[in-house]
């Protein structure tokens, strides 16, 4: 089973592609930082096309993204919601949101790993999201 974990942060989507092996271990296939340059139609289309190409390449079972606060002092950036909107229109695959609290609980119980060896620090959260999708 292949799962995409996507952390939406600022104007970037940090993607980690993970495959669940037969022994239940999560193997990292690829990671990418994809930016939404602006919120105009051309850039939104380019962003979508890139995800469609990634989906074509790996045919994932699901995409897991991080839930972000919509209002208040710590509300997420507006561009992340545009990115989320684009991802939700991808009809080839199920897109689900997971809250930060759920990730923390799973990490505490040891159900998911913190990080993949050899992957940069910035992919940590995206990997955790992908691992959650593999459960």
């Amino acid at each position: 089973m292949v799962v995409f974990g996507i952390e939406l942060k600022g104007s970037d989507a940090i993607v980690v592609v993970v495959e669940k092996a037969n022994d239940g271990q999560c193997i990292g296939k690829e990671y990418k930082k994809i930016s939404l340059n602006s919120t105009n139609q051309d850039d939104a289309q380019s962003f979508r096309d890139l995800f469609v190409a990634l989906i074509d390449q790996y045919s994932p079972s699901k995409i897991v993204i991080n839930t972000r606060q919509q209002k208040g002092e710590y509300a997420a950036g507006a561009v992340t919601f545009v990115m989320e909107g684009i991802l939700l229109t991808l009809n080839q695959v199920d897109v689900i949101s997971v809250a930060g609290a759920t990730i923390r609980a799973k990490l505490k119980s040891g159900a998911i790993q913190t990080q993949l060896d050899g992957y940069p620090k910035y992919t940590e959260k995206a990997f955790q999201l992908a691992s959650l999708g593999c459960l």
Binding site: K32, I34, S46, F47, D49, L50, A53, D56, Q57, Y58
Partner: protein, 373 residues
């Protein structure tokens, strides 16, 4: 030309006659000589009241006949829709046909007809990438193996992949045997006794097409690839066959040493970031982009700072909609002037700029001005 005249003159006369007897709903309209390797017939489906293109082609007696049938399952905006396919004869080589939707013109004639802006070139290239991504997807696992401007069709500034005679479904090794048409577009890994084609080979061919879209066209005359020494050797040869073999060898050597694309031929206003993307598409198999997603990701990075330059038929350059303004480099008063405008008004010379001797000098100055803003 009528159907009977076409049947008499075409090398596929018998097969075409058989096709039109079997498919009573088809009405012959004309033939199209644009396609290589086979014949293209334009016809009308009387039942559906729509025009279609029929490709008749030869192939070896293997499962390739089924490949257009595989494509028929695909419903993608950048891949020509295949409505029907079948075998017409199997004496010596097999001859098959497939019926597909009709598009306006090939990319070759589109590029010959008009000069396109960098933005349109990018759009057409992305269309190619999207279609290719669908073919390469895990679901279909197909490779095209013969991507070239003749096999791509353009309709209303939208590019579609056509000609499925060479399409192959990949087996477990993810490699296919070599398809030997169009030497100019063959990737380096396809040569030699261990030659093969895989998904990265399609990326190579797409890279060559991208270079052509951006104005660096490949010469179709093989003699243009000869060096001075090779030219002397070529002139000494007597027969056409010997000459053709030499030209093929020269082109093969250019491809395997990654010297086919002459980067000095790109218009000077093409961004070096775009040229780097092309270099990484047409380099050796190991160093090339691994997937379509990697190519699109590199394009996204370029698009952060993209500039939409267009050259018109008089050689004037226009940069459209850059930070709310249009710019122009125009030949006037015996030199090149830099002009700008806002909101589609008339172009006016930018204050404190002079008359430049060359287009390149004006381009450099304009870049300096807009990078300050």
């Amino acid at each position: 030309m009528s159907l009977n005249q076409f049947i008499e003159t075409s090398q596929y006369g018998k097969e075409i006659e058989k096709l039109f007897i079997e498919k009573q709903e088809l009405e012959f309209l004309s033939c199209n000589q644009d396609g290589a390797n086979g014949e293209i017939i334009l016809a009308k489906n009387k039942h559906l009241n729509r025009e279609v293109a029929i490709k008749i082609y030869d192939h070896e007696k293997d499962s390739i006949i089924h490949e257009p049938t595989l494509v028929a399952r695909i419903n993608h905006e950048n891949i020509l829709k295949v409505h029907d396919a079948g075998l017409l004869s199997s004496q010596g080589y097999s001859t098959s046909y497939y019926v597909m939707e009709r598009a306006q013109e090939s990319l070759t004639s589109f590029l010959n007809r008009e000069r396109i802006s960098t933005q349109l070139a990018l759009k057409l290239f992305k269309d190619l990438m999207k279609g290719l991504s669908c073919l390469h997807s895990k679901e279909f696992n197909l490779i095209h193996r013969d991507l070239k401007p003749d096999n791509l069709l353009v309709e209303s500034n939208c590019l579609k992949i056509g000609d499925f005679g060479s399409i192959k479904r990949l087996n477990s090794s993810n490699k296919s045997f070599v398809y030997k048409h169009s030497i100019l577009y063959r990737p380096p890994e396809s040569f030699g006794s261990q030659g093969f084609f895989d998904k990265k080979s399609d990326i190579y061919q797409a890279g060559i097409i991208f270079a052509e879209l951006l104005g660096c066209s490949l010469s179709t005359n093989g003699e243009n690839y000869l060096s001075r020494r090779e030219r002397a050797k070529y002139d000494a040869l007597r027969t056409y066959a010997e000459k053709a073999i030499l030209i093929d060898k020269v082109i093969e050597s250019r491809i395997t040493t990654q010297k086919l694309v002459d980067y000095s031929k790109f218009p000077f206003y093409i961004d070096t970031k775009l040229i780097s993307i092309i270099r990484k598409m047409v380099c050796s198999h190991e160093k090339r982009f691994n997937s379509i997603a990697d190519v699109l990701a590199a394009l996204t990075v370029y698009e952060r700072s993209k500039k939409n330059w267009t050259a018109d038929k008089y050689g004037n350059l226009t940069l459209e909609q850059f930070k709310g303004k249009d710019y122009q480099i125009v030949l006037e008063r015996g030199g090149y002037l830099i002009k700008h405008r806002r909101c589609s008004q008339n172009f006016l010379q930018i204050p404190n700029t002079g008359v430049y001797d060359s287009k390149e000098a004006a381009y450099k100055e304009l870049n300096r001005i807009i990078s300050k803003k």
